[in-house]
């Protein structure tokens, strides 16, 4: 989980207009409109998402969960807010190339993804969660490392 903040000082030096321009360019170039859908292929439009896409295709969750089931929170507004935020971040990173080869999930998105497990598995995990403070989440992926795709 990397700290997005380390790119910020550098970003601050760039006029916002340019940012938006670049973002919009990528949005068009990478068929941005397709991200309004839930089709995983849309994510894989970006070849840098290929690894997760390939992993997902082989995963137990292929039949039951698409990328957005795990990477966006429930609820229409939060969902599209997250998509917009990520869409912007990813487009920008993709265009400027300022991201590591082995992509690391950010803190906020990690919490979204963790929360997503509970969207479907709240019942079965009720018991193990009930003996804890409600603010103590369980790091599901620390044990289920291959769910969704390899982590």
């Amino acid at each position: 989980m990397t700290d997005k903040g380390k790119y910020l000082p550098w970003l601050a030096g760039i006029p916002l207009g340019l940012l938006l321009g670049v973002g919009l360019f990528t949005f068009g170039y990478a068929r941005g409109h397709s991200y309004m859908t839930d089709d995983p292929a849309a994510c894989a439009n970006c070849h840098v998402m290929n690894e997760q896409h390939e992993g997902w295709i082989k995963s137990s969750h292929r039949a039951v969960a698409v990328c957005n089931d795990c990477h966006t929170p429930p609820g229409l507004i939060p969902k599209y807010f997250t998509k917009a935020l990520n869409g912007f971040n990813h487009s920008l990173a993709f265009t400027t190339g300022g991201f590591p080869d082995r992509i690391q999930i950010t803190g906020r998105n990690a919490r979204v993804a963790e929360g997503a497990c509970l969207k479907c598995h709240a019942d079965i995990t009720d018991g193990i969660a009930s003996a804890r403070h409600s603010n103590e989440s369980v790091d599901c992926v620390s044990c289920h490392r291959n769910v969704g795709h390899a982590h």
Binding site: I124, T125, D126, G127, A131, H144, R145
Partner: protein, 423 residues
Amino acid sequence: INIFERKQEGRNAFFRVVDLDDNTDDPAVWGKNFPLQYDSYKRTVDMERTRYGGSEAIRQPASDRDPRDVVSQSKIDEDPRLKKMWLGYAFSVDFREERGHAYMLIDQRETERVKQFKQPGTCLNCHASTYTFMKKLGDGDTFKGFERMNQMTYAEATQGVKHPVSCIDCHDSQTMQLRVTRPAFIEGIRNLKGDQNYDPNTMASAQEMRSFVCGQCHVEYYFKGDEKRLTFPWHKGLQVDNMLAYYNEVGFKDFTHAESGAPVLKAQHPEFEMYSQGVHARSGVSCADCHMPYKREGGMKISDHHVRSPLLNINRACQGCHRFPEEEIKARVEQIQGRFIESRNLAMDALMELIDDIKAAKAKGATDAQLKEAWAMQRKAQFFIDFVEAENSAGFHAPGETLRVLTQALDACRKGQLALKAL
């Protein structure tokens, strides 16, 4: 807000059949509300060996002197070097492989270390459900109760307890949250952190608590002073080097070696300390993750309260994180353990030679002053070897640290033997 109410919001994971309170120490009563956990808890009576762990059921006729008809194998018979290392101490009389939690109280009551030697109430801290007993002795204050229990004789104190470690020792009866109940652990972890206000029960993460509850017992300890206060020597850190430095500083010895005359230490089950040096602890993996892995029961996941060797349960204990076949995982563990055994044997043989050499030097009339250096080396080597030997995972919890400690021990044996060369 208790465990039943909280879940009303969603689905009710558990059904309240009986009311529990902070004095209910009988696990069978808790088991009415939590039958799945209780069923698995009871299975700690099972005995099954792994290559270096688990335990072997040795049948014996129950007698007046020893009512147990099944015990585990004797380690001092299996490896006489242990006996020699402990000559002059109760451990050279009786020391067995440890087995499941169900046996902890009876195994303590019936060991020759209790029957042939006078022991204090302190022993009970880790061998029984003492929470309610301590509360009673201290009029509600477990720290006071702890002090009183330590100062009783074993014979007296053991009358006050009935069960092996029980639900109430690890759980809050209302919320079922994990909690530590042992004053010795709370004092130990405070000394370790150098913060006398640290309170694990409110300040530790849930994941930490999944190891802390075990760290109340699976640790190195000594009885401090005349009050026989149970103390974890963590003041300088959790590594064996830190503990030796602590014991040297306070001038403590467990016994005087009967053959060599050296003032030596006995190490006991430092699982928590060694685990803390390993890559699993660094990765946030807790004792419960491996020894109480989740288990699916119907539509629920529960923690397997059948605490045992994970090698008897590889699928749940390891394969979630490690995608290799069971046989391969077992082979990895045994490779790690095999390296430990090989190096331990070298060090242990060297220690035997050192003891013989000191004995011979004494016989030839060497003075205490002349033996000082060799004694110091025996003290170090013996404590280091005993530390990784008493640690019950045969090196698995921290493979690298275990072997590092053995290189230190071997070097101490070497130096001890050379210190006698001139004599």
